[in-house]
Amino acid sequence: MAALIEITDLHYRYPGASDWALNGVNLCVQPSEMIALAGPSACGKSTLALAIAGCLHGRPGGQWRGTVRVDRVDVTGRSLYENAELVGLVQQNPEDQFCTLTVEDEIAFGLENRCYPPAQIAAQIAWALNVVAAGHLRNRQMSTLSGGEQQRVAIASILAARPRILILDEPTSNLDPPAARSVLQVLERLRRQEELTLILVEHKLGVLAPFAPRIVTMEDGRVTHHNAALPAREPLAQRAPAAPGEMVARLTSVTHDYGAHVALRDISLDLHRGQLVALMGDNGSGKSTLLRCLMGLIRPTAGNVAVLGSVAPAVSELAHRAGIVFQNPDHQLLGETVWKDTTMLGRNTRQEAEVTPRAEELLRQGGLWERRDDSPWRLSYGQKRRLNLTAATAHGPDLLLADEILIGQDPAHAHRLMRQLRAAADDGAAVLVALHNTDLAQRYADRAVFLERGQVAFDGLLDDLVTYLSRRGYHAYLETAP
């Protein structure tokens, strides 16, 4: 059978970059195949996805060598519009690619631009929503959709024009395990029923295992394996959970609402020195709100938050003894250089003498010391993440909070971040990290808290969490090995 996609010796260098992002890629993809593109961060996966979709070769200043043939025609010989008739691209964050306010308008958008008559548009919307099992979302406002629903709508909006190839860049990175599994099931059904060729850029190969994709691995802009085996799950090392030390924070019957939406319901929780606690739960279960309450960034509607001996402390009181890392690394790059960013809290809280030597040590450990005079905006995604965590721990906080910091991280980076959090706990901090990965929680955490619709549904040891997840039918959480 003739390959649907043939890539030969493809090189691409971004405008102004010194290194090739793609450095001699060769790859063939057959019709109806499911390919998983895997590899460490910045190895060229997303760039390859853009090249196949025909979004790269026309960029001013970029250097392109080699060929990408889709359906036997070189993509450079077609316009972006012509390539898009064959190849649909769903980018990493669906929210960034929506351009209308309702689900129906969003899916109609591409069909209206093609000047299809309204009756045909209506029929294709119904078909696309049906295929992704989201017919009930048709009249919803985009702002009311959950992460999983957004991903389905993003897929339907591309699918409605019936491309032959669908490329998805980290389709599950923002989703909780049940939503990720559900989206992947939809994609597998599409591949079988519609003979769609699927290319998934994915770090979490564990979640793909039930769908048996062909795994193509990349490194330094090259394909290293054309049909790699799924990485075996490393056996869990038995480690005894650290004993709880002095209590650092206590939530008592905390409730918080955002108008009609109740995010936290009657939460009671203690955090102790020396313990790393994994905060888990589906998207929207209240994890981020809980972390913000603990940091004094949100005042709960009801109940008490006591941190480090103060009741309901404001963030200005806590900043010098606590640290928080948010989901998006770009939101926390606040210094002009890596060094200034790391020591910013020390300067602002007049703790420079304490912070400076520790900041240097942490930057060296994180491999960022050589970049200390660079702008933090020039760092890679993984380096930015490490810098965020370093800046939040340079003052040796007693309480460290981290919100979904593993999103978009390859397994090696994810382990590195978890080791950094573990080290903070071993140094005596109380650490609470929101994450979806049960495997990493089992390896590094001492205790887990699982939230369901704003309530603590489980609070206990990791071994018991596994039993709890199995009993409650949260099987997707148990298949999240990196």
């Binding site: 979709a53 898009a84 980018q91 631009n113 955002y258 960034l297 900043a319 606040l334 910013m344």
Partner: protein, 260 residues
């Protein structure tokens, strides 16, 4: 997220919600221009009463659902007081010269009522328009009325992205507070400091979004053809024709009053 009521479209069913967006836009323009051009105080005052009645019949309680209602009343009262106290022309009604050196005249009161009710009329009409008009329906109606679709979608995407930027700005602000940044000092200094600290992260976020959005829109053939079709076609109905006829009557009254 926060629990504060925001001035934005609220999905509901009422005769005001059901009117064609362009009919409501026509009324908004008519009321604004009329209130600013006619110098008879009872004109904007009647407009305010009319808007109040329209809001109530559309099940909107202005004092509760319109944002900044108290601020609006306080500001219009301040406008009234300024005009009443500092207008010197006209017949004197109350003489405060012995105590505060001011004199309240009939002309001062007239101007006070005019300026205050103009202000309330324009703000109230705008808020009512926003509360009852689906912004994307407005953009689609404008495009179907002849606005080039590139401009129409600039409006739609701006409406879509505004809350995301607000959320992003809030997160950056919280990240700064957590790093010990303190916004002390005067309001002006705080504003400058917030802008200085937020500009770069917000700009980087905006550029990232713009790039992703451009790929997404072009990948869906945006801009390929000069024209496009629309799934959602908006049509004027009988109620719109009646509302437009009433608008014409308002314009006629406005012109008559201006000439008089």
């Amino acid at each position: 997220m926060n629990g504060r009521a925001k001035l934005q479209y609220r999905l509901d069913e009422s005769w005001l919600h059901d009117l064609h967006p362009l009919t409501k836009l026509g009324w908004l323009l008519g009321i604004t221009v009329g209130s600013l051009l006619v110098s008879t105080p009872w004109y904007p005052a009647l407009v305010v009463l009319g808007l109040w009645g329209a809001a109530r019949t559309a099940r909107i309680r202005p004092a509760r659902e319109m944002r900044g209602w108290r601020l609006l009343l306080v500001t219009s009262a301040a406008f009234f007081a300024l005009q009443a106290l500092f207008t010197r022309s006209g017949i004197g009604l109350i003489d405060l010269r012995p105590t505060v050196g001011l004199r309240i005249t009939d002309e001062g009161l007239r101007r006070g009522i005019l300026v205050a009710s103009r202000f309330v009329a324009v703000i109230m009409a705008s808020q009512l328009f926003v509360l009852t008009t689906d912004p994307s329906a407005l953009a689609y109606a404008l495009m179907q009325a002849g606005l080039p679709y590139r401009y129409g979608f600039a409006l739609v995407t701006a409406i879509r992205l505004a809350p995301l930027f607000e959320l992003e700005a809030n997160t950056i602000y919280q990240a700064q507070l957590a790093r010990g940044v303190r916004y002390d000092g005067s309001l002006f200094r705080r504003i400058i400091e917030v802008l200085r600290q937020m500009l770069l992260p917000l700009l980087v976020g905006a550029l990232r979004r713009a790039e992703h959005l451009a790929i997404s829109m072009e990948g869906r053939q945006f801009g390929r053809y000069r024209q496009r079709t629309f799934l959602r076609e908006t049509h004027m109905r009988r109620a719109d024709h009646a509302a437009l006829a009433a608008l014409l009557a308002l314009v006629a009254v406005t012109i008559t009053l201006m000439v008089a």
